[in-house]
């Protein structure tokens, strides 16, 4: 290994550009998507008729237990003839995949709410919908946000799987640079450091948030 500052300087802008345009975009958009979808699953699993809930549970289980690269390749194979972009496929796959994990986090958050809260809502004749919106979700969210943040960080570090469908995210850019210059160490070390620099402080922040949100 012979570290060259020239190579480092040359590849860094390419990495950062791919980071901002793809890696960060996918992380943010798909995290929001996963957070919304996950909440929908959590509510549906509680409120839907038993059979429907069981079917949805099984589907989520399958999504959760199969790899993202396979999911990317599969969806991509089905839309490749249409003009849907690979990036869009990526956004959807990441959002749906991580929504299955976030649904679990929400479930735990919802179950941590004491039954007295539901009972008080019933005693006040509040509707199901209003009870969820005004009482349950705000309290569950408080218990769940740090865990959602941690899943978003996990998603962030999984974004290089986008290589599977040739979306030019940061590690693809690093590999490309390495392939054309035969200088692999600078791009991969820098890419790793960028991941570390973005994820570590966020993880620390989530830990802090967890402590602060723990009580009312």
């Amino acid at each position: 290994m012979n570290w060259s500052w020239d190579h480092a300087a040359a590849v860094l802008p390419e990495l950062l550009s791919a980071f901002l345009r793809v890696t960060l975009l996918v992380t943010i958009v798909s995290s929001i998507g996963a957070a919304v979808l996950g909440l929908v699953w959590a509510i549906v699993l509680r409120e839907a008729p038993k059979v429907v809930a069981a079917i949805i549970f099984r589907i989520l289980d399958i999504i959760r237990m199969t790899p993202i690269p396979l999911q990317l390749a599969a969806i991509w194979a089905f839309v490749i003839t249409t003009d849907v972009e690979a990036l869009t496929v990526g956004l959807i796959v990441y959002a749906v995949h991580y929504s299955t994990y976030m649904a679990e986090s929400y479930r735990a958050g919802i179950e941590s709410i004491r039954p007295g809260q539901w009972e008080a809502a019933t005693a006040l004749s509040m509707s199901k919908g209003r009870t969820w919106r005004a009482v349950i979700i705000p309290q569950a969210l408080r218990a769940t946000v740090p865990s959602l943040g941690n899943w978003a960080i996990a998603m962030f570090k999984d974004t290089p799987f986008l290589i599977m469908i040739s979306v030019p995210e940061m590690v693809t850019a690093a590999e490309k640079y390495g392939g054309s210059t035969f200088s692999y160490d600078e791009p991969f070390i820098l890419a790793g450091l960028i991941f570390l620099a973005a994820s570590y402080p966020t993880a620390v922040l989530m830990r802090k948030l967890e402590n602060r949100l723990a009580t009312y």
Binding site: I68, A73, K157, L196
Partner: protein, 237 residues
């Protein structure tokens, strides 16, 4: 139906080869990850900060830098400094280090969650540190860490799907490859089924371990068989 069975018999050898690669990476990675998780978990719990600090740094480094980056680093950079490795050991090393670092947090957290009184009791009984860990603390922490390790095992198995990035022909590669000749629905369907079955199998195995660990701590009722055996030994019933 017959056509499906024909397809299946054509595809089966290919998927079998893929499964062998996936299993090598998954089981090899899990074994390495477990050893690393225990070692780093103990290290990060050490009262000695000369051991603890480097342990923490290694954990945060491998957790923070992304699995695929680590894989590519091992695959592309190490040969340049004369470390020529086959792709399978490279994959196993990357999976083992990455998930080992995550596992270290589970191990550390579970050990730390064993009540302080248990640690103090071992001191009161003048136990040595190895005896204390092996006989008192670890068995209690083991029951606590299994659910977390189970989650990580599923993630590790999914992580093996990066095999094709280093030119290995695992299940994901085969599914993607066969879609041209055998149809998308068929090839990907089989691919999903294989991973799902594999992960379900591993998860139930982990749950059995968990149940046994809890039983040993008296947290779950003994199985009927175990009760019978105990009664037989005690000469009752």
């Amino acid at each position: 139906m017959d056509a499906f069975l024909d397809d299946l018999s054509t595809a089966a050898p290919r998927f079998w080869d893929g499964l062998v690669v996936t299993l090598q990476l998954g089981l090899g990675g899990a074994a390495v990850a477990f050893v690393i998780a225990v070692a780093l978990g103990l290290l990060t719990l050490s009262p000695n900060s000369w051991l603890r600090a480097p342990g923490r740094m290694v954990v945060e480094f491998f957790r923070g830098t992304s699995l695929v980056v680590q894989l590519f680093f091992f695959f592309f950079v190490l040969p340049q400094i004369g470390l020529e490795l086959d792709p399978i050991p490279v994959g196993i090393a990357a999976l083992g280090l990455n998930y080992g670092a995550y596992g270290a947090e589970v191990v550390r957290g579970s050990l730390a969650a064993v009540p302080k009184a248990q640690w103090e009791a071992t001191t009161a009984l003048s136990m040595g540190s190895v005896q204390r860990m092996a006989r008192i603390i670890w068995p209690q922490a083991w029951a606590l860490m299994l659910p977390g390790l189970n989650n990580l095992l599923v993630m590790l198995v999914k992580g093996t799907a990066l095999a094709s990035f280093i030119f290995l022909h695992d299940v994901t590669f085969v599914a993607d490859d066969l879609r041209r000749t055998m149809g998308k629905l068929f090839s990907f369907g089989i691919g999903f089924a294989i991973y799902y079955a594999l992960n379900q199998l591993l998860s139930s195995g982990m749950r059995i371990l968990e149940l046994r660990a809890q039983r040993r701590l008296g947290l779950k009722p003994e199985s009927r068989k175990a009760t019978k055996r105990a009664e037989a030994v005690a000469g009752v019933g």
